[in-house]
Symmetry: C2
Subunit: 207 residues, 2 copies
């Protein structure tokens, strides 16, 4: 819509500043991973460090907002199924995003692991995030099964959670050994999710 | 061997004490995860906290020794292939070990994630550990492919790394949502690794 009303005055300025900070934080994390400093982020935007606090009360708040910005897997997956792209291509693209942005991937793994502790401030956040991601991928797999692009002889929830798990687990291996061919392995894995018979024919199977 | 020479005197006592501390640490982590305290561990053994330092100079040294004690996946896998057990059973058993010992699993995930930082003191340790685990599982898959219990139409390294990844990734989902049926999903996943045709016949396929 072209004549959508935009916020004006102080509110608009505040939203812009928040966006600038978030973008700067994203870039700092992309370069330095979890070690990205608030000092560096503030400098990139040209504000003082206390000014950051106005928009993001704690360092964790800012880092979690950065992670939200990179929630690509669920979306890429849903889009691929909706547009009848091949699932293999969408997983390869998602994996390549990870290898192109190692700092963001490291931040995700570190915060998600620390948040397994129920007393961690980010525990609830990650529980919600994993739940939403699983729901999104399960729905995509169900649609893919109906469309015949996903094998239908195994439960959709199991396949969906296995996809999320394998990508997260491969990230971990790759972070400890950058020679691990994450994209190639993700591709092999995804090929196993295509219907076993007539893999390129879109043949439909009912479980 | 029954007349194997055992260490005597002070050395033997010292080895026993080290073993007691390690066992106490294992139990404390099993109960409390990464929050297990050195104070609690020392109390379980009946020594002072500084005495722990003699055997394990840092808290990390002790926690990493606890993790070594639970390296089950590679071994369970290798054994299953060697003894012609079904792969599905061995993965289910490995997964059940994780759900029965959540504290140990949480410790693993937290330390492994923190160690993705190359400046972390445990970085080299985990790099070696992932390398050794991958080598062990790749070898088991290769043997399984030759024996016809593993699908041979995909590269052994890819299948092996996907197994490790899916189990690690499922742990993460399950830690954030204990209702995730980790054992069931691992079972579904492993069924896809069995040769596509004649799954129970040990039929051999060459990739």
């Amino acid at each position: 819509m072209t004549n959508e009303r935009k916020p004006r005055g102080p509110y608009r300025k505040s939203a812009q500043r928040r966006e600038q900070i978030l973008q700067a934080a994203y870039e700092a994390v992309d370069e330095h991973g979890e070690r990205a400093s608030l000092h560096d982020i503030a400098q990139r935007v040209g504000v003082t460090q206390p000014a950051l606090t106005y928009y993001f009360p704690t360092r964790d708040d800012l880092l979690l907002a950065v992670l939200e910005r990179r929630d690509v897997l669920g979306k890429a997956f849903g889009r691929a199924v909706a547009e009848r792209e091949t699932i293999v291509d969408s997983v390869v693209a998602g994996t390549r995003f990870v290898t192109d942005h190692p700092g963001i991937a490291k931040l995700h793994v570190t915060l998600a692991a620390a948040a397994t502790d129920p007393e961690s401030p980010a525990h609830g956040y990650f529980a919600d995030r994993y739940r939403a991601l699983a729901a999104e991928v399960i729905q995509a797999v169900e649609e893919g099964q109906r469309a015949g692009v996903f094998r239908a002889d195994q439960p959709a929830e199991h396949l969906a959670r296995a996809v999320v798990a394998v990508l997260e687990g491969l990230q971990m291996q790759w972070m400890h050994d950058p020679t691990v061919d994450m994209v190639g392995i993700a591709e092999t894995f995804t090929r196993m999710l295509v219907p076993p018979a007539g893999a390129d024919g879109g043949e439909q199977r009912e479980g």
